[in-house]
């Protein structure tokens, strides 16, 4: 379990993390979602105790971070293992840092993450996906109850990403608590709970389903439309439209309740020269993400 209260952190006088509080229950996968530079990494570093907070408190399993060091593992955003050492030497090193001597457990970890064949390869020579696995394995060497993962799948191919996520579910099913930062929507949708952070502030928290209500009272319309700058321009000019978001041949329009469907249809039809019919739909997580990030929320 992770608890953070009122975390504040400034760099050079600018608040990068502003009164962030969160609670993650045991066994949950908690996703911290936000655009680049929102403060995700700063939050996770403060939770892991490797960056001082200006103020605020962090507890892991009811203890201070310093006391709880054996209870959690951390996978940083960057590859932080020793490139000159082999996979096995890296794993042994981290195991020893926690006083873990059970080699069978370590061997099993390597097998679980398909690193067996690379046991004696230099860590620096591994591909991106295997480096990520090694980082995860090193963080799991002492079988921690809580795992912090800073953008664990950034730059990873979809197949490996899926494998990693299957594994995150397995870890969660084993009772481990996972704290994940990401800016991938499909990953956010996989979390049990989500928090949304932008410019250092938490602006929404809940399940992936409930978080969509963070947009407030809005309607979401969609229609088949290949990208047209003109249409986008016309719609965005309508008062009350919060967001237009193009997905391939679908255009999503997020607008407050006052904006009538017919008004939008009229505007688009005028540009296109044909009659257009909008369909009402649910907001997508990405709609929420972009709308909140742009400050379109009120």
């Amino acid at each position: 379990m992770i608890q953070a209260k009122q975390l504040i952190k400034s760099f050079k006088g600018v608040r990068r993390v502003d009164e962030v509080s969160l609670t993650v229950e045991k066994g949950q996968i908690f996703g911290l979602l936000g655009p680049n530079a929102a403060g995700k990494t700063t939050v996770i570093r403060m939770l892991c105790g490797i960056m001082d907070t200006d103020s605020g408190e962090v507890e892991i399993n009811g203890s201070s971070v310093e006391e709880a060091k054996h209870d959690f593992g951390y996978v940083a955003q960057y590859f932080g293992q020793y490139g000159e050492l082999s996979v096995w030497e890296n794993l042994k090193f981290y195991a020893e840092m926690y006083g873990v001597k059970d080699e069978a457990h370590l061997e099993a970890l390597l097998e679980r993450y398909q690193l067996g064949p690379y046991k004696n390869s230099a860590a620096g020579a591994l591909s991106g996906g295997y480096k990520r696995r090694l980082a995860l394995v090193c963080a799991l060497a002492h079988d921690p109850q809580v795992l912090f993962l800073d953008e664990p799948t950034a730059g990873i191919d979809p197949v490996t990403r899926k494998l990693l996520w299957d594994d995150f579910y397995a870890l969660s099913a084993e009772g481990k608590t996972l704290f994940v930062t990401t800016h991938y929507m499909e990953e956010a949708a996989r979390c049990h709970r989500l928090a949304f952070i932008a410019e250092g502030k938490m602006i929404a928290e809940g399940t992936p389903k409930s978080i969509k209500s963070a947009l407030g009272d809005v309607n979401v319309f969609t229609f088949k439309q290949s990208y047209s700058p003109k249409v986008t321009e016309v719609i965005q000019a309508v008062a009350g439209v919060q967001l237009t978001n193009q997905f391939g041949n679908d255009l999503h329009i997020v607008a407050s309740k006052e904006v009538s469907k017919s008004l939008l249809e009229e505007k688009i039809s005028a540009v296109q020269g044909i009659d257009v019919e909008l369909r009402e739909t649910e907001p997508d997580l990405e709609d929420v993400f972009i709308a909140l990030t742009q400050g379109g929320h009120s």
């Binding site: 570093r45 892991c48 105790g49 490797i50 960056m51 001082d52 060091k69 054996h70 959690f72 593992g73 951390y74 940083a76 960057y78 590859f79 932080g80 293992q81 020793y82 490139g83 981290y94 840092m97 926690y98 980082a135 090193c138």
Partner: protein
């Protein structure tokens, strides 16, 4: 396209203000320092003397030596004391005038006086010999010819007295004896500073430090664990280099192997802990390297390793005494060449230990297991 790369390199340099400061300030500072330091006008070379004769004539010799300011003279109680003063490093030269000097002089028996010079630094030895010629100058000897009126045809020696020169400790004035002990220190300094200077900053640059700080390791264990291997490696290096000095270059054995080991260990500890401190204050490996060089170069020039400390102007000598290497040079020459007693080296050992304490404390204060 070349210009694009040139521009990029310059921009990168400009974005590292600390490195820029090092690049500009370091050469300026060193240049001024060396320009002042390397005027090298040794004066006030300490000379211990015993004038057992205490006559008008022996006074004339002392005055001759004293007058041009090269030697600064003080008297000691015995002939042995002269040698001990030089062995301890308190004096670089000595003068002994026997009690029957003037009696022999009057009898035209051409008495001998002895000039002792420290041979550990051949360049200084040469300079001292040269400057001691003031003692046998015409101004001094003019009044020392005694004509026997009863035997006007007696052949009078050209020189009324003879000054023997006794080169102590390195009688053959071997340059290798003078340089090699210091060379060992320079090599160890380079190895230690470069090895440990980058050790932490590299882990920071490669992001391994971030991963390491999460583990439950204590600050103390981290620092000790980080330094121990380098202390051992550098210590082995020390004896390898010294071994070459002994077996290939005929360097003498030390007065005490225990004291030599103590020196090796403390000196290595000084350099490793200084390297650690460099690694903690530097933000990049490049900066660490520059700081290391910034320490190594003046160490070589101002420590007495190449030029006698006496030759360095007092203002710059302050810098000499802030460099650990100065004390190393003093001790290792004492142990290997002059067989100096521990008592006379204690202050230098103490100084080196002081450096360890300062560097380790500063490192502990500076080091935080935080990003």
């Amino acid at each position: 396209m070349i210009m694009a790369i040139v521009k990029k390199e310059l921009l990168q340099l400009r974005r590292d203000p600390r490195l820029m400061a090092l690049i500009i300030v370091m050469p300026l500072l060193l240049m001024v320092l060396f320009a002042v330091a390397l005027k090298l006008e040794p004066n006030n070379v300490k000379m211990a003397y015993l004038d057992a004769d205490r006559s008008f004539f022996s006074d004339m010799i002392k005055t001759g030596l004293w007058s041009d300011g090269y030697f600064q003279m003080y008297s000691v109680e015995s002939k042995n004391a002269i040698i001990e003063e030089i062995r301890s490093g308190r004096a670089k030269a000595g003068l002994y005038i026997d009690s029957n000097f003037s009696a022999q002089l009057i009898e035209n028996e051409q008495p001998h006086i002895t000039l002792y010079v420290d041979g550990t630094m051949p360049s200084l030895t040469t300079a001292m010999k040269y400057n001691s010629s003031a003692a046998t100058d015409q101004d001094v000897t003019n009044d020392m010819y005694f004509l026997d009126e009863d035997a006007p045809n007696t052949v009078i020696a050209e020189d009324p007295f003879v000054m023997d020169t006794d080169v102590l400790f390195n009688p053959d004035e071997k340059e290798t004896w003078f340089f090699l002990p210091g060379v060992i220190g320079v090599l160890i300094m380079q190895i230690a500073l470069i090895l440990t200077g980058i050790t932490i900053v590299r882990e920071r640059e490669q992001h391994t430090l971030e991963q390491l700080f999460v583990t439950p390791i204590s600050k103390f264990s981290f620092i000790i664990g980080k330094l121990l291997p380098y202390v051992v490696i550098t210590l082995i290096d020390f004896y390898v280099i010294l071994g070459v000095g002994w077996f290939v270059f005929d360097l003498p054995q030390p007065s005490s192997h225990l004291l030599l080991f103590a020196l090796a260990f403390i000196y290595v500890a000084v350099m490793i802990s200084l390297g650690l401190l460099i690694s903690l204050v530097s933000q990049t490996q490049q900066q660490a390297m520059f700081v290391a060089i910034f320490i190594i170069v003046p160490s070589i020039l101002l420590s007495g390793f190449i030029f006698p400390i006496e030759a360095i102007p007092a203002a710059v000598r302050v810098v000499s005494y802030l460099l650990p290497f100065t004390y190393f040079v003093e001790i290792i020459r004492g142990l290997l060449i002059k067989q100096t007693l521990l008592v006379d080296l204690l202050y230098a050992y103490g100084a080196l230990l002081g450096f360890v304490v300062v560097f380790v404390s500063a490192s502990v204060m500076k080091f935080k297991q935080r990003l």
